[in-house]
Symmetry: C2
Subunit: 353 residues, 2 copies
């Protein structure tokens, strides 16, 4: 019996509703499998906690998390009540950084039963591997103000180590998929960081002679997501470019509300964190109408990372079956509530087992 | 009689074919108007010139250009023969910089007769105003290599002056359109430059109380271009964000091949430069099959900037009439050649006069 101890941070808003739904799905999967079990420990961290304690999580929160296998997070944020930069830097970005979750992975795949805003999308299935620790998000910079002139400087930091790690991960994923990696660059406009990124990509690609490697400028690549997403397999990108491409990925899938994400510590020194792309959606929170599919797809990514890719496939398949049944929440044009969608997914998990 | 002296740089590849087509259209427009005339002076600068002389343009090229009212450019580039960074920095980027063309303007509009890759696009008509002189493209940075560690640093530079100038231009354009400006930001991830950009935007927006102002993060905004482009009016963006959004704009219009651009010196100290977004397309060059619509739409932007917005409308209308007639080049799914499309546009210009 494999016992996985998981730290659960439902967070705020609809996070509190969709996390239990996905946990039900995972427990069902574990039951079916027989050989694994999840041990869930809940932490009530987030904006509510902040309003009471003045911090998003306790001082020793990071240390507490280190003792778990993985972290399963819902959504964090109370716009209006807690400034975004507080809720982000005090929890999400803090965990990503301190637990060295240096790679962010997000699929963009056209699911059965989803309506893409694209007119005639051929089946696409993209995996965006995003460098998650540095690049354009490095907190290096400042403002100058003198003689009536004023400016801000922001420095992007690209280390070989982090770039290479993201790229290697991209190539190993491509080896399990369609064997193609596309690097997002902008070396025709950005003179230092991007040519460096290109150099590292060229070197790493030589270590994987069986994988096809290509580079595209981010502007053209963004257009590809709209014009011909089916030609892409794995895309490796800097922190910012990955951020932009994954929202585009969500858009062409038909909804950012179903998109999942994994913040990976690929060395497995510390736990990784699995969180859907969507936010806490305070406007619809507490009504039982939130879409649980983002969180459920996120649970598939956790299964994959735990080495249970077969079980991950069952969960994704059950999601597609549910969409095919037209059991959908309002955001996807359906009339079902959270409970009905979750129950239908669980039924299909059982049927597929 | 207003005489406009225009420096013409057809450049390379299909630039040499589409520029004369657009010139014919502009001459027709001038004839109809009666009160304006164009005086065209051709400069054979570009990659061909580089292969003969070792520079993309003569030493005194920039000075030569300064004596003209405007610059009308085709496309530059001979991939394989001349490295991209040579052709770009020796001509396009050099002119943008030295003639202080600090704002880049690109419309994304759903034209009659164009097939968008979006399934059900409502009529959209976006004007992207891009800061064109600094930001993420500032050539500040370098590499460090020691003790087996290696990294590249790239600094983005945002001055109040340039940010404000782009924003003011955006607001004045919005006043002539639907009265809405959206700023592309990423202040939730990028800690110094983007909060500064937001501060300047907040201040500038207070100078235009009749215009609605909003800020969106670039990831969400990219998704908007796919999910609901019709809600956007004027978008103001940094150099990099503008680059990405305008390619997306081209994509949702149905083809980057028809997208126009203006590099503006809004103070009118030096000439501005008008160039289509597409490249030199060496694979189809010289065959008479290139699509002239990008260059023709570019000529509309030049007419607008010269103060002839009524004539600009005639040109754009004639383009739409031509597309409606289904007189299209192969890249748009048609069977017409460059000459046929150009002639049809000219007929419609005459009919609309
Ligand atoms: C070629 C490149 C440097 C350029 C840019 O990024 O400015 C191009 O993409 C454009 O948008 O005109
Ligand atoms: C909230 C923001 C800082 C974050 C990011 O840009 O990383 C989000 O957009 C994401 O993609 O997870």
């Amino acid at each position: 019996m494999n016992l996985y101890s998981i730290a659960v941070i439902p967070g705020d808003g609809i996070g509190i509703e969709v996390v239990p739904a996905a946990i039900q799905v995972l427990d069902t999967v574990a039951e079916i499998h027989g050989g694994i079990r999840f041990d869930w420990t809940h932490f009530p961290w987030g904006c509510e906690y902040y309003l009471q304690h003045g911090t998003m999580m306790p001082q020793d929160g990071i240390d507490t998390l280190k003792s778990f296998h993985q972290i399963f997070l819902g959504a964090v944020g109370m716009p209006g009540l807690v400034p975004d930069h507080v809720s982000l830097s005090g929890l999400l970005l803090k965990i990503r950084r301190e637990l060295e979750q240096t790679i962010n992975v997000r699929p963009a795949k056209l699911l059965h039963g989803m309506k893409s805003p694209l007119a005639a999308p051929q089946d696409f299935d993209i995996l965006v591997v995003r460098e998650n620790s540095e690049g354009e998000y490095a907190e290096v910079g400042g403002r100058v103000h003198r003689n009536g002139e004023e400016m801000a400087i922001q420095s992007a930091v690209f280390t070989r180590k982090a770039s290479e790690r993201a790229m290697r991960y991209a190539f190993t994923q491509a080896a399990k998929r369609r064997g193609h990696v596309t690097s997002a660059t902008k070396s025709n406009g950005i003179a230092y960081s991007m040519p460096f990124w290109d150099d590292v990509f060229r070197e790493v690609s030589q270590l994987y002679p069986d994988i096809q490697a290509a580079s595209n400028h981010i502007d053209a690549l963004a257009a590809f997501f709209v014009m011909k997403p089916h030609v892409l397999d794995v895309v490796v990108a800097s922190n910012l470019f990955g951020d932009i491409l994954t929202d585009l990925g969500g858009a062409i899938m038909g909804s950012i509300g179903i998109a999942p994400a994994a913040n990976l510590n690929v060395e497995r020194t510390y736990p990784s964190m699995f969180e859907p792309v969507h936010g806490s959606a305070p406007d619809i929170a507490g009504k039982g109408i939130a879409n649980p599919l983002g969180q459920i797809w996120t649970s598939k990514l956790m299964l994959d990372f735990l080495g249970h890719e077969d079980l991950g496939e069952i969960v994704l398949g059950a999601m597609e079956d549910t969409l095919d049944d037209n059991v959908k929440t309002a955001d996807l044009g359906g009339t079902a509530n959270l409970k009905e969608v979750t129950e239908r997914v669980i039924e299909h998990v059982k049927l597929r087992a």
